[in-house]
């Protein structure tokens, strides 16, 4: 794929036809030239060029860690760039603080929620921009009215006097969006806005984005969901390892092109599996019911086998996983672990028995974000490796370095705090933590959610390597392709019950999906 250069004439004018419908004939509204940014030990951006015109949606894609969020943050004034320049309507501007970006009409939604949990919805939307009476008294009535109006334009109808904390992540994301819309931005930067939204909510958001595009807003849309960017994007820029990899009209690239440019290599095999006959039984559940969760679950996992559970959010799959790990109350049924009866009572007990859980939410449950890579790797296995109370730091570093090398964790050193790593690399650290405990049964809850294509393949390869070493894996996922691609046996959960069981050969997308959605009853499938 050759790189597409957008020619900018001496007058900085160009004619660009977008999606064949609208024609833009202006200078770029916002332009970044030669932007570089270095964090301690990581070069996040190197000489990156990017521009966006009024009335277009410019997609910014790249793997996690490619620098797309960093670029977004620089344009929003959340980070300062080390070198390069930013131009607004052709004139250089200085954006070193958020307030400056806002003054220029540049606003955006960050990938992480920038919300205050115990303030109410309206207070969050108008944080630091409250409508006032007499210059200093917050006009709550107007604030709530405006908030309801803004939310309604995204088809969200909620009580704006409730603390934000009482709402789920999707609503919170809509509040984030309303917050930026309230500023009437000329340039709108959206960093992974759809990650937590359902299909219907995404539809509403896209409708709104298209309206704003009509109104001449310049929109930068950061994402790595190929399907949706095709629906909304006019132009696309791919970043790889902090550098420009390609740029051009969306229609000039196929999805395969984009993936290849993002990853910088061919993905020969999306789901790498070397299947082998299963070994002895590792885990057997018989008639397990969990309080407030799954009912009458029968399930078997063998050594050297990946068992996938798929089901919708709320089907009880996560509750099942955590119950096996000793969290939650098993009301009845029998758990047999490596041939002997076990009653999961606490994670500590299950860890001793060789079980590891890589949870869905690695940021709050899987890792200690402020700890270094090294400490995260040993934190679950201190007693195993250091039975005599004292911890040898050099041994910790050696162990961590081995994992960094084996799992190809991209980090400048093992003493780096994990919060600075990309999602894929964080997931590898979470995995290393359990490998270090010499776990023989690993439970993965959404192993590759929120991580990019290249890292997904790496995690999948690691999982395959693990089963080759006779480890048993129970994998929970809502990504149907992942479940079908990786599992030897597939269980489907629906409303707290096992709704179907398939071998790898039997399982097809249609069968599993219809059971998962409860469209058909088990015996019809």
């Amino acid at each position: 794929m050759e790189e597409i250069e957008i020619k900018t004439g001496e007058t900085d004018e160009l004619s660009l036809s977008i999606t064949g419908e609208s024609t833009v004939n202006q200078a770029p509204l916002l332009q970044a030239r030669g932007i570089s940014k270095e964090f301690p030990g990581v070069r996040a951006l190197e000489n990156v060029d990017f521009d966006v015109y009024p009335g277009e949606v410019h997609i910014l894609i790249g793997e996690n860690g490619a620098g797309k969020s960093t670029l977004g943050k620089i344009l929003m004034g959340a980070y300062r760039h080390d070198s390069g320049e930013i131009l607004l309507e052709g004139k250089p501007i200085k954006i070193s603080r958020p307030i400056e970006a806002l003054r220029y009409g540049i606003g955006g939604v960050h990938q992480e929620f920038m919300l205050v949990p115990w303030l109410n919805v309206a207070q969050n939307i108008f944080l630091n921009r409250e409508p006032r009476r007499w210059g200093f008294v917050v006009d709550h009535q107007r604030m709530h009215e405006e908030s309801r109006r803004l939310l309604a334009s995204l088809d969200v109808h909620i009580d704006t006097t409730q603390p934000l904390k009482h709402f789920g992540t999707a609503i919170q994301q809509m509040v984030e969006l309303s917050k930026v819309m309230a500023t009437n931005p000329r340039v709108l930067i959206l960093d992974e806005p759809t990650a937590v939204l359902t299909e219907r909510e995404v539809e509403c958001l896209f409708k709104r984005i298209k309206e704003m595009r009509e109104q001449g807003v310049a929109i930068i849309f950061i994402s790595h969901r190929l399907q949706e960017i095709r629906e909304i994007g006019d132009r696309v820029t791919v970043l790889r390892d902090g550098k420009n990899a390609a740029s051009g009209l969306m229609s000039e690239f196929s999805n395969d092109d984009l993936v290849r440019i993002m990853v910088g290599r061919n993905i020969s095999q999306l789901y790498p599996r070397n299947r082998r006959p299963p070994g002895e039984e590792a885990l057997r559940l018989k008639g397990i019911s969990v309080r407030g969760g799954p009912k009458d679950v029968d399930l078997v996992v063998h050594k050297g086998e990946i068992v996938g559970i798929c089901g919708l959010v709320g089907s009880g799959r996560t509750e099942l996983a955590t119950a096996i790990f000793g969290i939650g109350q098993i009301e009845k049924g029998e758990v047999t672990l490596f041939g002997s009866k076990a009653t999961p009572r606490s994670p500590a007990q299950m860890v001793r028995k060789g079980v590891g859980l890589i949870p869905e939410d690695r940021k709050t449950l899987g890792l200690t974000m402020k700890f270094s890579v090294a400490w995260n790797v040993v934190v679950a296995s201190l007693r195993l490796h250091f039975p005599y109370f004292l911890v040898s730091y050099s041994k910790v570093v050696r162990m961590a370095e081995k994992f960094v090398k084996d799992l190809r964790i991209a980090t400048p050193s093992v003493s780096r705090q994990v919060k600075f790593l990309s999602g894929g690399n964080q997931q590898k650290v979470a995995l290393a933590k359990w490998l270090n405990t010499e776990s023989r049964l690993l439970i993965f809850d959404e192993p590759t959610r929120g991580i990019d294509v290249g890292a997904k393949v790496e995690i999948h390869t690691l999982m395959d390597n693990l089963v080759q070493k006779d480890i048993a894996i129970l994998m929970i996922s809502s990504d149907l392709r992942e479940v079908l691609g990786m599992s030897d046996v597939v269980y489907v959960m629906y409303q707290g019950r096992i709704n179907g069981k398939f071998s790898h050969e039997e399982a097809t997308q249609d069968k599993v999906a219809s059971l998962m959605l409860g469209v058909v009853r088990p015996n019809e499938a």
Binding site: R97, M114, P117, Q123, L127, F136, K165
Partner: protein, 319 residues
Amino acid sequence: MKHKVHLRLLSIPPVSWIVLVLFIVYGFFAPGFFSASNLWNIGVQAAPLLVLAIGSTIVILTEGIDLSCGIVLGFAGVGFALLVQHGVPVWLAMLGGVLLGGICGLINGVLVASFHLPPFIATLGMASVLTGAGLVSTAGTSIAVRDSVLDFVTNGVLLGIKMPILIALVILGAVLFLMKFTAFGRNVYALGGNPEALRLTGANISVALIMAYVVAGVLAGIAGILVASRTASGHIDSGLGWDFDAIAATIIGGTSFEQGKGGVGYTILGVILIAILRNGLNVAGVPNMYQFALMGTVVLGAIIFDIMVRRLSGTEEGR
């Protein structure tokens, strides 16, 4: 339906039940507890603590803590007394004492916001410095103040309410207004909840944080004047142990150290609880030395009770 009533009962702050039980218990065991004069007395005693605890609540909402507020209280009283001793008019000296509290708060705020010291270290250090300064300037003695104004501030009655109680309630009202209707209040909640979110809206979070400590300092100063007026003297130790009471009242009131949850409104319940405990022990004739241990035990017990009830009622997350 039954469930709903049940939930509504649980949404009343659990500490109210303890206050109710205390009233009943003291009614039995401490004759004279329910006399009008004693109830007024409780109110008057609680007034400075309420003012102090409001400041404490503000700081805790920002995910900070002010361990110096008790000493600032004493220090403001000392400053006030010394000013009067040097011939400054009493009203002006009171203002001076309050200002002194504000300056202490400013220094606390700068240490936390600009030098990024952990709040407990900054304020603990501040407390030590102020104790030293107070001891040096008074040679460790009480500075007596005599003036009719003090009598008015302590015993005066306006609108049928004793002055200290009136002052505390006016301050409570003013702070409630600040918290709900001004940028100051929103900043306090946002600083505790998600300071980065506030920063990205273009607010200056250092200034916002410093302001929270300044207000807490001013309130400690006012509390100091109230105490100095009642005792007709300024002594650096006059607020000894009050920091614990103020923080305890905040926590009992439901303000938590996490994510800017809670508010000034309920802190008054915590203050009432502590004031009743103190008063009841006095009326029952429990010697002062036992009171410290008893108070600590009861306050810790109340906090534990509070947390347990909240957990049961599901208004608190976690296990």
